[in-house]
Symmetry: C2
Subunit: 422 residues, 2 copies
C-alpha cells in the first residue's frame, strides 16, 4: 500500500481549522506559491500533491506554543489554538529514495508557516526503496554482540572521563584499568574527538595496545568506540586507522556531522558506528516543535548507525523515564526487516537503573553506560562493572534489587553509595 508513498505523522497546533492547516502543510511541501502560477494544473496537483490522510483533534488551547502564527482574518475576537495529529502522505516520485530530499520534504520549510503555532514530526513510514538505497546498520545488535562477545545481557560500558583534558599517557592507564575491569564497552566522550592536546592519532596509539593487552589477559576484547567526529576526510582516515589498529567501533556525533556525511561514512565503514545524538535536545525538547525520537531514529538508522544514544532513566537530562523507555523500544523495533540498533543508555546510571529499564522495555539489547556509577564504585572499577551486571541479573530474574544485593556484595555497595541520590 505504501510502496510508493512516504507517510509522515505530525503533531500540530494552529489558529486555523485543523484540516486547513494540514492542507497548507501538504501544499507547501509538494507545490504552491502565494498566487497560482502558470503550469500548476489540477492534473499536476493530483499526481504530485501530498495528501492529508488523517486528522485527529487533540483539543484547543488559549495561548500559542510558538510565536509568529497568524489567525484567519475572519476571526473577530478570541482565537483558539487547535491541537491535533495529522497524517500526510507524500508520493515517493516527488523526491526519490534520498535521505536528504526526504528530510527536506517532511522536515523542511513547514516549520516556518504562519498557519501553525506548533509543528513536530512524530513518525515516518518509508517505502522499501529507501532500504534498497541505504543499507542501514552494518552490524546492528547481532553484529555488535558478536564483536563484543556479549550475549544474553546488556553491554556494560563506560565513558572516558574527564571528558576533556586527559593526556594520552593518562588515557592509556585509564583504558588499561577499564578494560581489565571487565567492561564490555568503552567510549570517548562526545566532546572528545581530535583535540589539540591529545590528537586522535595519538589517542588511538595509546588506547589500542591497552585494549589488546587486556584482551590477552581476560580473554575478552573490550569494544572501544573512538570518536571520529570531524570533517569527512578526517572521519574516513580515522576509521581506517581504528580498523588497522584492531579497534572494533567508531563513534560519530551524528547531528554535528549530519545525515549526508554519516551515510557517506557508512558506505566506507567496516566497523559498527556508535551514534551520539548531542544537540537532540535543541530539536526535540519543545513538545510542539522539531522532531520526535521515533521519526529521528528512523532517519539515522537508515543512514547507518549501529548504536544510538537515548538518554537515561532518572538522568540529569530533561526527558522522562517514559520517553527514554519509548526511545529504547524504538531502536530495537525492526525496520526493513533487520535495521535494529542498540540503544545506548547514559547519564547518572548505576546498577540500580537496570530493573526500571528492563521493566519498562523488556529488552537486554542495550548498551548500558555508567560513568561515576562504575568508576566511583567503593570497591573500584571492576566491582562497579560487577554491580552493573548484578543489577541486570536481578532485573532478568525478577528479584528485587535489595534482595539480590544480600548475596551480591558489589551490588550492595553500589546501593550504599549511589542508591540515595535523587
Amino acid at each position: 500500500m505504501n510502496e510508493d508513498r512516504v507517510i509522515a505523522t505530525y503533531l500540530i497546533e494552529t489558529p486555523h481549522p485543523l484540516e486547513h492547516a494540514a492542507r497548507v502543510i501538504a501544499g507547501e511541501q509538494s507545490s504552491g506559491t502565494f498566487v497560482s502560477v502558470p503550469g500548476e494544473t489540477n492534473e499536476l496537483k493530483e499526481r504530485f500533491g501530498a495528501q492529508v490522510i488523517k486528522v485527529d483533534s487533540l483539543g484547543v488551547v488559549e495561548t500559542p506554543s510558538l510565536p509568529g502564527s497568524k489567525p484567519p482574518k475572519s476571526t473577530g475576537g478570541k482565537v483558539g489554538y487547535r491541537r491535533g495529529r495529522v497524517v500526510i502522505c507524500f508520493p515517493l516520485h516527488n523526491f526519490g529514495p534520498s535521505l536528504t530530499s526526504l528530510f527536506s520534504t517532511v522536515a523542511g520549510n513547514l516549520y516556518e508557516l504562519q498557519e501553525l503555532s506548533g509543528i513536530r514530526l512524530e513518525d515516518l513510514e518509508l517505502p522499501q526503496a529507501f532500504a534498497d538505497h541505504y543499507a542501514g546498520p552494518g552490524f546492528g545488535i547481532v553484529g555488535t554482540r558478536k564483536l563484543a562477545g556479549v550475549e544474553g545481557r546488556p553491554l556494560i560500558g563506560t565513558i572516558i572521563k574527564p571528558s576533556i583534558g586527559l593526556a594520552t599517557n593518562a588515557l592509556a592507564t585509564l583504558v588499561r584499568d577499564l578494560a581489565t575491569a571487565g567492561l564490555d564497552f568503552i567510549k570517548d566522550d562526545e566532546l572528545q574527538a581530535d583535540p589539540m592536546y591529545a590528537p586522535f592519532v595519538q589517542r588511538v596509539a595509546a588506547v589500542m595496545p591497552e585494549i589488546e593487552k587486556a584482551a590477552d589477559r581476560t580473554g575478552k576484547k573490550a569494544m572501544y568506540a573512538f570518536n571520529i567526529t570531524g570533517d569527512v576526510d578526517h572521519m574516513l582516515r580515522s576509521h581506517d586507522l581504528v580498523k588497522k589498529s584492531g579497534g572494533t567501533c567508531v563513534m560519530v556525533n551524528v547531528n554535528a556531522v549530519g545525515l549526508a556525511a554519516l551515510a557517506y561514512l557508512r558506505r566506507h565503514c567496516e566497523l559498527p558506528i556508535h551514534g551520539h545524538r548531542a544537540w537532540f535536545g535543541a530539536i526535540a525538547r519543545h513538545p510542539l516543535l522539531g522532531i520526535g525520537f521515533t521519526a529521528y531514529q528512523k532517519l539515522f538508522r537508515l543512514a547507518g548507525v549501529d548504536h544510538l544514544h537515548v538518554g537515561g532513566f532518572n538522568s540529569k537530562f530533561y526527558e522522562t523515564n517514559e520517553e527514554v523507555g519509548k526511545s529504547i523500544i524504538d531502536c530495537v523495533t525492526p525496520m526493513f526487516g533487520n535495521y535494529r540498533v542498540m540503544p545506548a543508555i547514559s547519564s547518572a546510571q548505576w546498577a540500580g537503573s537496570a530493573p526500571e529499564i528492563y521493566t519498562a522495555t523488556n529488552t537486554v539489547d542495550v548498551i548500558h553506560l555508567a560513568g561515576g556509577g562504575i568508576i566511583a564504585h567503593p570497591g573500584g572499577t571492576a566491582a562497579g562493572v560487577r554491580s552493573m551486571q548484578q543489577g541486570w541479573e536481578a532485573a532478568l530474574k525478577g528479584v528485587a534489587l535489595e534482595d539480590y544485593a544480600e548475596t551480591h556484595e558489589e551490588l550492595r555497595d553500589a546501593i550504599g553509595k549511589f542508591g540515595r541520590r535523587g
Copy 2:
C-alpha cells in the same frame, strides 16, 4: 585576546540562580560527571574548564518555557524562572578548529540539562584558527556579482514553480522564458533535487542550453542554482556536471546534508554554493531553544556557503521583519575579513518589498527572489523583473514607491496586483 578561545553567547532560562546555571553549562561542556571522578584535578579544570565571563539578568517569569527542568531542592514553594544572557568562553585546545567538534561543544548536550528551562545559542566568536582550516565562501558577494554580471543593485531572482511535478521539457520552456525576461538568478526549489520524474542529469540537460541560448540573445548569462542536495557522491558528481555544462551555481539544503558534507563539498567546489536553510524553523522558532540566526550563519559561512536564505519581509513565514532584517545584516557583516555571503530573500516578495528591506538593512548585496511576484505580473515575467528592479531603484533613490510608479509602468502594475495583499 580571543586567539585561543571560542566565545559563545546564550540566552537561558533557569529555576536556579543564573550564575549557577551558567557554571553548569560550562562544566557540562568541558568536564564533569554526576560524581567527581579520579583524574579530574583542579589543575585540569583550570586549563581545560570553560569559563563564565558574563551573566546579565533579563528578569523572572512564572512558567518554564520548556519541560523537564528541575528547581533546586532548597526551593520551598513558588519557583521563579530566571532569564538571562550568559557568555561562556571555551579553550580552543579542548577541541581544535573543527566545525563538528565546535558544534558538539557549543551546541551539544547542554540543551538537555534539567538545570535549564530554556537555552538558545545566540552568537559565537571564533578564533583565526578556524579560518586557517576552513576557507569559507569561495565566491561570496564579490564573486557572485562577477559571475552573475550584476553590480550596484540586488540580483533579481526567481524560484522554479511549480516546485514539484514539472517535466523536463516544461522546465526548459520555463527557463527559456525566465532567462530571456532578464532574471539575474534562477533557482530550483528546495523540494526539487533529483526526483524520479525528472532526474537531476536530465534537468541540467534541459536547463543549461536554454540559459546559454538566452545569454547569447541578451548578452547576460543568468545564474541558475541547481539543487544538488543529496548523498555526498551525488553532490560531487552533480557539481561536476553543472560545472562541465557551463552552469554557474549549485544549491544545497544545508541542514539536510549537514555541516560535514557541506564543508566537504566546499573543498571540491568550483562554483558558488547557494545555501537553503529548510528546517531552520525547527531549530530557531522557539525564542528560548535552539540557535539564533547570528550564530547559525557563522557556522555555515565557515563551512562554505556563498548565499544563505534569510526568509522575507512580510512573508508567509513566522519571522518578523526586524528578525529578517537582522539576518540580512548578519550575512553581509565581515567575518575573518572577507567571509561575506549574499542573503537570499524570499517568500511572498514583490517589487514593493524593496524599499522596506533597504530601509532596514542599507544594503543591496542581496539576492531578491520573487515567485508569483514576478511571473504572475500582469505584464508577464519580463515586466515582473522590471518591476522588481524599479522597486529597488525607488528604494535607492529614496523616492516613495507610488511616486516612482507614476513614471514606471511595470512598478505601477505590480502595485496594482500585489500591493493590496496583507
